[in-house]
Structures are given as C-alpha cells and as structure tokens.
C-alpha cells in the first residue's frame, strides 16, 4: 500500500502529541480492560456451567433466616435429586480479617458429591480422615499453599456471624478446575450445631444436586410449593441465580463499572478528537496541495481516517498489553480479599470490546474533521497561508 507511508509520516509529524495521545488512550483502555474483566470474572460466577444442575434452597424471607435441617429428608426423596447438603456460611476469620477466604459448615458426607465439579482431585484416604474427625477440615490446595498449611495443622477460625471459634485440623486437601474454587474451606456441620445452641437442627441453605439439569425448573417449583404453607417457607433458585444475588450484595458493581467505562470512553473520544482536529487543521494547505495534484476527496479522507484509527488502535493495543501485565497483580493482590478474582484474566470478550471501542473512537473522532477538510474547496486551503 503506497499510501501507507504517507499515513505513517503524517502520523509521526508531531511525535510528542502523537505519543501523548496514545498514552492517554493506553491508560484509559487499560482501566476499561481491567474493569470489564472484573465484571466478566464476577459474572462468570453467576454463569457457571458446572452449577447448572444445582439448586440452592433458602428461607423465603431472607438468607439470614434459618431452615430446619430435616427439610433435607424430603428433598432427598425427590426422584430427580442426586444429592443434598446443608451448608452454612460461617464467615470465620483466620487470625485477622484481611485473610479472607470462604469457609462453610457443611454436611461433610455429601460435600464431594454435591460439589463434584469443584472438589475434583483428592485422596480417598484423606477424605475418610476428614469425615472421621469431627474437627476435620477440607481445604483447597490454593488456600493451603497460601498459608502454608499441611495435613495435621491446626487452624482457628473465629466466626463473625456466630459466637464461636472453631479449632480445625486439616485432614484433606483438594484440587479444583478453577483456582478460585481452591480457596474454600469446609468443616463438619456438627461442630456448629454443638457450639451454637440455636443452630441445632437448623441451617442457612441446602445445596441440591439433580441428575439432569433439565429437571431444575420444575423441581424448584415443586420444592417451594411443598414448603409453601410450612412455618418456614422456602425460596429456591439455581445456584447461578443465588451467586448473582450474593454478588449483588456488594452493590450494583455492574452499573458502576459500565458507567465508568462509558465516561472513560467519552474522555478518550474527546482527547482523540482534539488531537485529530489539530493534526488536520494545521495541514489545511497541504491537503489542498494534494488535492490540486489530483488526490481524490475519498483518498484524502481514507488517509486521514487511517491516521486517526492507527492512533486509537495503537493506544488500545497498549492498554490491553498493560491490562494483561496487571492481571497477575489483580489476581495476586485484589484476589486475596475478593476471592472471586482469583480467576481474574483479560477475557476474549473484553479484548474484543476494547478493540471495537478504540476502533469506534478512532473513527468517530476523525471522521468529522477529516470529512470537512477533505471536502473544503481547494482554493480556500491554498489561500489560508
């Protein structure tokens, strides 16, 4: 393409301005890429295909109200059901609050069937040890590595929800498919029942695993109908819906992220438009000369557009590169207090969004000044000396 050199030379005409504009796009796109990837990562939790055959049953009033443990008996009798486990969010603190990781009081004997996709690799011998020891803990490999826990180590968790501290012995270490799933800790539900009198025979949620995902909707309906007139009515939903609700408790992060993304895009649109308007205005005479020589309006327009798009796409590529470099830091640092972000990475959707957004910024910011310059009467441009 013989005009490419012309585009490149014009592009580098004012190196400082070009570099500054690219840098501001780079920083902005890096920010957008990270925010959007956070959003995508969080949404993936509420869109987990492995959870498609799991239902979460909780109290109809709220997640903090408790259900009788015996509800599990009825649930287990349903033909669609493969396995049921009572699970209580314990919110135990290890040493101090900054060491956050999800920990649960679970009906231990069901944990590896209900969470078959999460608790993937472990030794059967270790798992039996976990079941045998009332104070036993089942922990993800990631979590064990993070604190240097080994089998037999004793770990104290002080609950922020219940007036109890549990002393647990690490009995089984498991591996998962996703690193975030390896941050969980499960211990025997009986420990909670014994330590907290009002928890006797009561639990926050049931995780119900059905054989076929297709049965989920009608089972949800049947469960809630069955307990409709009970003293403690239930509210059932898919695990993904439950996760989403849980995430929403952090605030409407999705709307905030989209708003910031929009604002940043508008900002880079303005910066790029300003740069291109300046770059084109100072070349008015030159454009007229090229047209006098015989360059067509469309060719001039294409060259100017090429310049604007090159500017924004380079900035966008730089932004993605920086975001990619920062992704490790986000996983390692933010991921420690927001375990959801253990899976953080710049996903394909975000890359595509950033690419198209910068392409659009380049096009929108350049088109109007370029179109006007390319169509301006030649003689006007030649006179404005």
């Amino acid at each position: 393409m013989k005009y490419l050199r012309l585009v490149l030379r014009s592009f580098l005409r004012s190196k400082r301005r070009t570099v500054l504009t690219i840098l501001s796009i780079t920083v902005s796109v890096a920010l957008i890429a990270i925010l959007q990837s956070i959003l995508a990562t969080l949404n993936a939790f509420a869109n987990n295909p492995d959870a498609s055959n799991r239902i979460v049953v909780r109290h109809k009033v709220s997640i903090t109200n408790l259900l009788p443990t015996r509800y599990a008996d009825w649930l287990r009798q349903q033909p669609e059901v493969e396995s049921v486990m009572g699970l209580q969010w314990f919110q135990g603190v290890y040493i101090d609050r900054s060491n956050f990781f999800p920990n649960f009081a679970s009906e231990a004997e069901f944990v590896n069937t209900v969470f078959k996709e999460e608790i993937v690799e472990y030794s059967d011998a270790q798992f039996r040890e976990f079941l045998r020891d009332r104070n036993g803990a089942l922990v993800g490999k990631n979590l064990a590595d993070k604190y240097g826990w080994k089998l037999g180590d004793v770990v104290s968790l002080k609950s922020e929800l219940f007036p109890i501290t549990v002393r647990l012995t690490i009995r089984c270490i498991f591996r998962s498919k996703r690193p975030a799933d390896e941050l969980a800790l499960h211990f025997n539900y009986k420990l909670l029942e014994e330590g907290v009198s009002y928890m006797k025979g009561r639990v926050g949620t049931f995780f119900v695993r059905v054989h076929r995902a297709d049965d989920v909707p009608k089972l949800i309906e049947r469960i809630d109908r069955h307990f409709h007139d009970a003293v403690e009515p239930t509210y059932s939903e898919t695990e993904n819906a439950f996760q989403l609700e849980f995430l929403k408790m952090m605030g409407n992060y999705s709307a905030i992220i989209q708003m910031i993304t929009g604002a940043v895009l508008v900002a880079i649109l303005i910066v790029t438009a300003n740069t291109m308007a300046m770059a084109i205005r100072e070349r008015t005479t030159e454009i007229s000369v090229l047209r006098a020589i015989g360059f067509r309006t469309s060719q001039i327009l294409a060259m100017l557009m090429g310049e604007g798009i090159l500017l924004s796409v380079l900035g966008g590529a730089g932004g993605l590169a920086i975001a990619w470099l920062l992704a490790g830091a986000v996983r390692g640092y933010v991921g420690t207090f927001l375990p959801y972000l253990q899976n953080f990475h710049i996903d394909a959707g975000t890359m595509s969004l950033c690419f198209h957004a910068t392409l659009a910024v380049g096009t929108l910011s350049t088109f109007i000044p370029a179109y006007r310059a390319a169509r301006r009467p030649i003689v006007d441009g030649l006179r404005s000396l």
């Binding site: 580098l12 005479t285 006098a292 020589i293 015989g294 030649l382």
Partner: protein, 232 residues
Amino acid sequence: MSGEPIIRLRGLAKSYYRESLEIPVLQGIDLEIPAGGYYALMGPSGSGKTTLLNLIAGIDRPTGGELEVCGHTLNGLDDDELAAWRSTYVGFIFQNYNLVPVLTAFENVELPLLLTPMSRRARREKVEEALAHVGLTEWMEHYPRQLSGGQEQRVAVARAIVGDPELLVADEPTGALDHKNAEEIMALMEGLNRDLGKTIVMVTHDPKAAHHARHQIHLEKGVLDRTIEVNR
C-alpha cells in the same frame, strides 16, 4: 512553435458571494492559449489573476462561461473526474513551494506518481530523472526544512513535471525568492517551455519574471486589458 489552442475560455465569469452580495471577480473572459505557449498573467493585486489561474487549472469552478483545457470541457466534469484530469494534464508550482514537510524531496516529487498504476521502480526512475532535471540529485533524501527556498522551489518544479503534464501553472513562483534564485527558477521554466514544449501559464507581478514569458496578458479589474508579445 504555437499550435492548436490548449486553453480556450469563452465568456468565463467568476463571482464570490458574501452574505448574498455578489462580488464579481472575473467578467466575460475570452482567451485562447496555444499549445506550447508561455504566458505571463499580469495585473494589479486583486485583479483576479489567481482566480483565473485556478479556473484554468481546474481547482476552482466558474460561475459562468465555458472552459476548455487540454481537450476537455471542465464545466462538465464532476469532482473526481476533475481530480483525475488534473493529475494527468496539470503541474502546479506555488509561491510558497507547498512541499509536504514530512516527506523527503524524493517523496514529494513522487506524490503525483502515486496516483498512477506505475511500479515502484518506474516511479523511482521518473523521480530521479525529474530531480536531475532541476539539479537536485544530491538532495533527494533531504527534507524541505533542510533545503533553501530556491532548492525547495526546484523540488516543486520537479514535482510539477514528473508526471509529464502538458500544462504547467505557476502562481507567483518567484514571489518568495531573492533575485538570484528567482533568475534560476525563471531559467528553469524557460527551458521547460522551450525544450520540453510545456505550455506554461504563470501569474506574476514582477516585470523581470514576466519578461521570460513569450506573451503577457494584462488583467484589470476582472477583464482582459491587453495581450502583448514579448520581444527578445
């Protein structure tokens, strides 16, 4: 030396409009310029010289009359056709040289050839030939800011002739140059007319420059005053 008319203007008129007020600049110009002619367009400032030259060169459009240049009636061409026509038939030389600052002398001269299907190699040959013609072979890789005004104008002349157009238009080509450089450019243009047979229309109000042309056309308030032959 004078052949068939290459430029034929009939009742050519151009007005500008400012807030619906008509400002006539050229009024009923009739003019014929033969192929191979060298015409100096003279007249006081504001008399319409540049306007007339721009019309002949097809970078402006008349508001009346007919305009036939290099065998084409320009009135009937659309913008793209006119652009293609210019790239084939017209070479431009401006008072301010108007080189592209980010391109080398070589690349500036190459610009008109980018519009042709010529190969890279063929373009290189043509450009080198044109630069040799204006005596700037050594300066090919220099940028405009590294050249003197005289050299810049010679690059502009090379750019004007590289595509081998029939017609050269020049608007005050020596206006920004000192005496010595002006003389050099005039000698160069005289050679282009005499040796290469280019038809040249040159706007100037410098009598010394006009003396290099073969004919002088005088414009006075938008009408042709007189045409005289230059005796040498």
